[in-house]
């Protein structure tokens, strides 16, 4: 069942077309992230859902109910802001009580619900404190509690972790995700941090310049990006240009590249001769020193029938990153490829290496 439907909304400010025909169906209890660089329209989309902005055209449905024209206070939303937006002149308990008083919840009931939600965000005993007496992470949890205590039908989060330091941010990701799953509330989360979107979301909406680049699960978006810009935005990736030489079954292709023929996976329906880019994630490439592998320089890329590709190149740069070494390898074609290798087994700059990767770990992008 769809809890929330965004149906072809458009928004313009003067000449700027901020949102172009944005449609997103969101299921009951799903955690959906709107991800993209600043100015991509993700915040505007969230503000349209909240009712702080009104789309020029299109509809927004909460369940079956059309809320496109409804005021924010009529929508039954809970919202967490980047600045937390706690009421500074009210204690934690008064902040939480605000939404309940507006809803005319009886005092005894109010107290019980405030106590429950404070326990949920692990802030028991903080009810008499003022926001300025709390740390950033605690304020964040109060903001979350304030949004949840009214038991809204949708929880909206606008970059809530942007003001926290890195350690706390990591902790809060899991905290929010865990809480969201326990409450089972449909949530929409705006972020520009792809790692955050990856670990928290059921679905990610990748946005760019007012349009949706891709809508899918974190795995789909990481492994099967719809375009080069998505591949570039989510994690690190390498691309090698080529032409489709032959289709092999549903999604297998043989691609002709300057480095030789490479077996690759891609979306169905790519036609022979089409220009493509082969995307390979750095962690999916294994290396061996050329001397050890015994391969000849510039050997044919694909090892027949095995689904394994082997490319030869030379190491041009090596960066120690603790858990791994990041190598830059220059291929015979002149393309540079980033590879993660085990940090304990470094390869020297200038060394000849063989890069190995499976066809199933690649993905073809239209170029």
């Amino acid at each position: 069942m769809t809890a929330l439907t965004i149906d072809r909304i458009n928004k313009r400010y003067g000449n700027l077309h901020i949102l172009k025909d944005i449609s997103i169906p969101i299921g009951q209890g799903e955690f959906v992230s709107l991800l993209g660089p600043s100015g991509c329209g993700k915040t505007t989309t969230l503000r349209c859902i909240a009712g702080f902005e009104r789309p020029d055209t299109g509809r927004i449905l909460f369940g079956e109910r059309d809320v496109t024209r409804a005021l924010p206070e009529q929508r039954d939303i809970g919202m967490v802001f980047q600045s937390y937006a706690l009421f500074p002149h009210m204690t934690v308990a008064e902040n939480l009580s605000f939404g309940l008083e507006v809803r005319k919840v009886a005092p005894a009931d109010r107290q019980r619900r405030i106590a429950d939600v404070l326990a949920m965000v692990r802030l028991e005993g903080y009810d008499k404190r003022y926001p300025r007496e709390l740390s950033g992470g605690q304020q964040q949890r109060v903001a979350l509690a304030r949004a949840l205590v009214i038991e809204p039908s949708v929880l909206l989060l606008d970059e809530p972790l942007a003001n926290l330091d890195a350690t706390l941010r990591d902790e809060m990701r899991f905290f929010i995700r865990d809480l969201q799953q326990r409450v089972g509330i449909t949530s929409i989360y705006v972020t520009h941090d792809q790692a955050e979107a990856m670990v928290m979301s059921d679905k990610i909406v990748v946005m760019n310049a007012g349009t949706i680049s891709q809508f899918g699960s974190p795995r789909e978006i990481y492994e099967r990006p719809a375009s080069q810009s998505v591949a570039g935005f989510i994690g690190r990736s390498n691309t090698i240009s080529g032409k489709i030489a032959e289709a092999l079954g549903q999604d297998g292709y043989k691609v002709e590249t300057p480095c030789g023929s490479i077996g690759a996976t891609g979306p169905a329906g790519l036609s022979k001769g089409a220009e493509v880019k082969i995307m390979i994630r750095p962690e999916n490439i294994s290396t061996r020193s050329q001397a050890a592998s015994g391969h000849q320089q510039g050997a044919g890329a694909e090892e027949a029938g095995s689904g394994e590709n082997v490319l030869a190149g030379s190491v041009v740069n090596s960066v120690y990153q603790g858990s791994a070494n990041q190598l830059a390898v220059k291929l015979g074609s002149g393309d540079r490829v980033i590879v993660d290798v085990n940090g304990r087994n470094p390869l020297e700059v200038g060394e000849q290496v063989a890069l190995r990767f499976a066809a199933r770990d690649t993905w073809l992008l239209a170029s």
């Binding site: 919202m79 600045s83 009421f87 002149h89 507006v102």
Partner: protein, 271 residues
């Protein structure tokens, strides 16, 4: 080592600077201290040397009906100006901060004009205007409007700065929690800008209590504000009753500053 280049230790320049600042303060505060001292002097004249401690001039002040009437009249005018400005100054600040778009800077300039235009010019302009619309100076309304106009910017500017420093997402948070526009204003916006309103109001009151030019030109017949009464008195008398009045005014100003500090804190005074 020369000059103030050393880090922590105090140089001769630091000391000289301290002395200079102290001298400026003494220069500024001395007349005030003098007036207060003279008001407790038992001598007949507003002059040195001091002869002895006495409260007789305060007694004279409080038994003088004209001074009492003038004090009450000044308080009434100042209180009315304060209350009216609390409302229209706040509304104007909200309008300029939230709703004015293209003409915002011009509107802001017009709103603060009474601070920039010499008071006497404002007074003359209002005087002409009141005669033009046949109010003249027959009623208190003229002087009252004059005081409201001149003290308006104090509330306007203080509330504007409070609004400028206010994070509007608090209002959005209130709306998301189900509060309507009025409730959001009453329970979230108003408490946030209250320090600005209080500060602006206290300024408005003190300034209105002190205004001379406007009152001189616009006062209605038979009623004097305290500064005017004091001026009249000093033209023919030179006894320390005047100093007693001045002490009273100084006391009121200090009381106002104390109230600001105790309620909203002097640090909230920003323009």
């Amino acid at each position: 080592m020369t000059g103030a280049t050393s880090g922590v230790e105090k140089t001769i320049w630091d000391r000289l600077f301290t002395v200079l600042v102290a001298a400026i303060y003494i220069f500024l505060m001395f007349p005030i201290v003098l007036v207060v001292l003279l008001s407790f002097n038992s001598g007949e004249f507003l002059a040195f040397p001091l002869e002895g401690f006495s409260l007789r001039w305060f007694e004279a002040l409080f038994s003088n009906k004209r001074f009492l009437d003038a004090t009450l009249y000044s308080i009434q005018i100042a209180a009315t100006s304060t209350i009216v400005n609390a409302v229209i100054g706040t509304l104007a600040a909200i309008y300029v901060a939230r709703h004015a778009t293209v003409a915002r800077d011009y509107i802001r300039l017009i709103m603060t004009a009474p601070l920039l235009v010499p008071e006497i010019l404002t007074a003359i302009a209002l005087l002409f205007y009141f005669y033009e619309i046949r109010i003249g100076t027959d009623y208190s309304i003229g002087i009252q409007i004059g005081h409201i106009v001149v003290t308006f910017p104090y509330v306007f500017l203080n509330v504007s700065s409070a609004l400028f420093n206010f994070d509007r997402s608090q209002e959005e948070a209130a709306r998301s929690l189900g509060a309507g526009g009025w409730m959001t204003f009453r329970r979230v916006t108003l408490p946030a800008i209250k320090p600005g309103i209080i500060t602006g109001c206290l300024f408005a009151f003190v300034i209105s209590f002190d205004i001379f030019n406007i009152s001189l030109l616009l006062k209605s017949l038979g009623s004097n504000t305290l500064p005017l009464e004091l001026f009249d008195y000093l033209r023919f008398n030179f006894d320390p009753t005047a100093a007693a009045i001045a002490s009273l005014s100084i006391f009121m100003t200090f009381a106002a500053i104390l109230i600001i500090d105790r309620t909203v804190g002097l640090r909230s005074l920003r323009f």
